[in-house]
């Protein structure tokens, strides 16, 4: 009979929206523990840049409930498109200092192409579909504006519509 990995049984992605930081090694271990059928793990970590010293913090507002649901929908779409053995997405909210983590995607698969593409896909759609908004706190004034959505992100997301 087919094993879980052979049958292509769909995995259940792990999605967390939290204020706390995350640990990359621990999240990789969570997907790999006790398994011997994983050949490739790709992680993406998004961090807060200080914009050449101008930024003192980012504040991430989110839509509680919908944030988890929407990331879950994107993740299930990723898990349908690629033969993954595991997929984890953690997105932080609240005040985040320059140099600190914002988002983590971990995609595991038998082969590297699926892991790379799934992680890349997840980030493109997190940027354009997950209900989070970044406000900048500037080092000089203390306050700042809302980050504007980039058309480049929409273009990145559109790359996947032919896939």
């Amino acid at each position: 009979m087919d094993t879980k990995a052979q049958s292509g049984e769909r995995i259940i992605p792990l999605v967390r929206v939290q204020a706390e930081d995350f640990d990359v090694t621990a999240e990789v271990a969570r997907l790999c523990e006790g398994r011997r059928d994983i050949g490739a793990v790709v992680t993406f970590t998004g961090l807060c840049r200080d914009e050449d010293g101008r930024l003192s913090a980012l504040e991430l507002e989110h839509y509680p409930g919908m944030a988890e649901d929407e990331i879950g929908r994107i993740a299930r779409e990723g898990a349908e498109r690629w033969p993954l053995t595991g997929l984890t997405v953690i997105h932080r909210h609240g005040k985040i200092a320059p140099g600190a983590n914002i988002v983590l995607v971990v995609a595991a698969s038998r082969h590297r192409r699926a892991a790379f593409e799934a992680a890349d896909f997840m980030m493109d759609f997190l940027k354009t579909r997950a209900p989070f908004w970044k406000k900048e706190h500037m080092a000089d004034s203390g306050s700042g504006g809302w980050v504007e959505a980039k058309t480049a992100d929409d273009d990145d997301a559109a790359r996947w519509s032919d896939g």
């Binding site: 507002e61 409930g65 919908m66 929407e70 997190l126 997950a130 209900p131 908004w133 504007e148």
Partner: protein
């Protein structure tokens, strides 16, 4: 119907959420945006460029032509900048 606002939509309106009663001629998201815009300057500022406003009904993204008929929660917000 519960209405929620996020990011600069929230700031311009000055509310995180409110419960409203919608008149019968307000059928779609687009109608609701038009109706809310006439309430005061804050709403008018929030919806000044309706084409950039993103909308979720019961926590799922929808287009502006979506009927709001049986929505229990509708949310308005700018384009997302997470990730």
């Amino acid at each position: 119907m519960k209405v929620r606002y996020f990011a600069w939509v929230r700031e311009r309106i000055g509310l995180e959420e409110e419960t409203i009663e919608v008149p019968g001629n307000v059928a779609t998201v687009s109608d609701l945006i038009g109706w809310l815009s006439e309430r005061d300057e804050g709403y008018a500022a929030a919806f000044a460029e309706p084409e950039v406003i993103r909308v979720a009904i019961d926590q799922t993204h929808v287009e502006h032509d979506e009927p709001i008929g049986r929505a229990s929660e509708i949310a308005f917000f700018p384009p997302m900048t997470g990730g």
